[in-house]
């Protein structure tokens, strides 16, 4: 108790020192004082409370006001579209989910941050989650060469969850490769009491769930080969290997009927201790640690996702990026950027984690958080975040995802063979890319 207090005190001293240093240095480009009130569209979520705590802290420190318009997750995209498409926007900051980023970026609705504040750069250490903070309009894709479009506000990537108690019972170690994962899952499944691995293979989430398998096998859905040119590479031998691995793990070492297992069922199985391992976003962590919602408090741990045959690792990004629309007044834009810049600084991010949020930086270590057990996820999160990828980096990502999801889902429930599913998904993807204006080449069918 005493030690913990001392650590906290020491941190507080550190934090004040850092703050003083920053202020004396003029606190970077964006000044946080005397800004107009800004409004932000944000979704209700498990991490909202921690974000609100940061808004409170910002208001207290600077005297500026940030108003949050809290919307159900299912309605935020609609509200954002309505606002940014109007001649005069109602939000100065829009909180954009990784799934919608390409649509909002390519539509030209957001003001590049470098235009609001000349040469503005993300603070050192802030993650870009597979370059998703930057958009290259000429190539119509995410790219580090593109303009900076937003600041991540809630980090979120997939991690491997595993139940340490079940692992001990079976004498297992966290897997390094997909084969390890399958072996672990198989051993647990054969024990008869638990499900070895919980896939998230329902139609609305399977593409997201399959992405790390695909990319760690050194494959991809497609690649951009030149201006307005793309090659569909999904139906490669590596892609087939990835899908085979996915289907094998999903159908041989997990619960029956994986074709309708979505996020809700996955968390249900993990929280009740029935599922031993799963790949899910770090945003689920809080629930698994909440005694009112979970039977596995303190028993779950997070790890780096398994590697493919050549040691490659990938994790699907599921983060949120705050963008500043073009259709609001310049002084509001400046105020919005000042807030976002303030928020992304390391000390605020440590506070954010303490309040229950997931940081948007990769440089926060267990030590920053006093090595408290409650934050034991942080190392695994940071590792996975560095391997974050966006599987479908182009404007019609939602359409492509929906189209391919059906084939993958049918492969999992046995309506299609893996080869059929892959060929069909590749053909569908090629169609979407063509409609999006690409000249498309495609590998021959498997």
């Amino acid at each position: 108790m005493y030690a913990a207090t001392r650590i906290k005190n020491r941190q507080r001293v550190c934090r004040t020192l850092v703050a003083a240093l920053l202020m004396s240095a003029g606190a970077g480009a964006a000044s946080a004082q005397d800004q107009p009130t800004i409004s932000m569209a944000i979704n209700q979520s498990p991490w909202l409370d921690s974000f609100v705590a940061m808004v409170d802290q910002y208001e207290e420190e600077t005297g500026n006001r940030v108003e949050l318009d809290v919307t159900p997750f299912g309605g935020l995209l609609e509200k954002i579209r309505n606002s940014v498409r109007a001649s005069q926007g109602s939000y100065d900051i829009v909180n954009v989910n990784s799934l919608w980023l390409s649509e909002i970026y390519s539509g030209g609705f957001l003001a590049p941050l470098g235009e609001i504040e000349a040469n503005y750069q993300l603070p050192e250490g802030v993650l870009s989650y597979g370059n998703t903070t930057n958009w290259d309009a000429s190539a119509a894709t995410f790219s580090s060469d593109g303009a900076l479009m937003g600041v991540p506000v809630n980090g979120n990537v997939q991690v491997l969850y595993y139940n340490t108690e079940i692992y001990e019972q079976f004498g297992l170690k966290p897997p390094k490769t997909w084969d390890d994962l399958f072996a672990n899952a198989k051993a647990i499944q054969e024990g008869g009491e638990y499900y070895g691995f919980v896939p998230r293979a329902a139609r609305d989430s399977i593409v997201y769930n399959f992405t790390p398998y695909l990319f760690s096998h050194d494959a991809a859905f497609f690649r951009i080969t030149g201006p307005d040119q793309a090659e569909v590479t999904l139906n490669s031998p590596e892609g087939l290997k990835a899908l085979e691995t996915y289907v094998k793990i999903a159908t041989e070492a997990g619960p029956p009927g994986p074709g309708n297992i979505a996020q809700g069922e996955l968390i249900q199985l993990m929280a009740t201790g029935k599922g031993a391992q799963a790949i899910a976003v770090i945003a689920a962590w809080g629930q698994l640690e909440d005694p009112n919602a979970s039977r596995v408090v303190g028993k779950i741990n997070a790890a780096l996702l398994p590697a493919g045959p050549d040691g490659m690792i990938a994790s699907s990004a599921g983060h949120w990026v705050a963008g500043i629309p073009k259709n609001v007044a310049p002084e509001k834009q400046k105020a919005a950027l000042a807030f976002l810049d303030w928020f992304a600084q390391k000390e605020r991010q440590v506070d954010y984690v303490r309040a229950g949020g997931v940081p948007v930086r990769g440089d926060i270590t267990g030590a920053d958080l006093g090595d408290e057990a409650a934050f034991r996820f942080i190392e695994a999160y940071s590792q996975n975040a560095r391997h974050a990828v966006m599987g479908l980096p182009f404007a019609s990502a939602a359409e492509a995802s929906d189209a391919m999801a059906l084939s993958f889902n049918r492969a999992v429930i046995g309506e299609l063979t893996q080869v059929q599913a892959l060929n069909q998904a590749a053909a569908d993807l090629a169609g979407v890319l063509e409609r999006a204006g690409f000249t498309v080449s495609k590998l021959p069918d498997l």
Partner: protein, 275 residues
Amino acid sequence: MNRSRVGGLLANSVVWGYALMILGPTLWVLSNAFKFKIDIITGATLSPFTWMNFQELLFSRQSDFLANLFNSALIGVVSTAIVIIAATMAAFTLAYLEVKPWVRWAILGWALLFHMLPTLTFVGSWYLMYSSIGLHGTYFAVIMTHAVHNLPMALFLMVSFVGALPRELIQAARMDGCTYAQVFWRIVFPLVRGGMIAATALTFIFSWSDFAISLTLTSRDTMTVPVAIATFAQEYDIRYGEMAAGTLLSIMPALLLILVGQNFIVRGLLAGAVK
């Protein structure tokens, strides 16, 4: 005699069996309002009791459920009143009076066409319309849109109910020298009360449970109950307990209205019988 008693017993058991089928799941859903999430997701029937969900719903900083209830009630009552009055008047005219056929076809045909298209495809247009005249987020915008959205069904129902009245009665009244307005207020209006109440109940319920329109057209201050309840179905955390608590609180006014309404139906019948 014996056979009919057996038949009666059988019919009775079917009726109460169906009632149980409705009541069982509903009570289970509502009982979740008093459970911890872990007990809900494990499907426990008997479990520790908690007020936590109500606390979150009513007193947490993000939630303003009493205001949402008020908004829903206001929007539901006003839009329903508008719909039923407009639909009943029009129904009488369309069912009995000499109206040019194209007018009848235009109104009923358009109502049906509009009703058959998915609401979802309209909300963007409505948002544009209201925000361009500065009415977005107001009660007025939601009330008017709920009204027009529920109007086709109410109109058709009222045409059917009004059309089922004895034609001779209306002819007789017109022979007696009543104006159309008098026929409507003195004959049609009292006789069609049972149907009106059914249409009212349905219209109110559709307004009360609408999500698509309310989501887009309300702001923080005019947010309705279904939108508020939907905030608990989050991307990574479905908060069943709070949803159940919200449902429990939102069912009560609607249920009360229906029970009162059903008394009206009985009285409507009596009024019809005395004629």
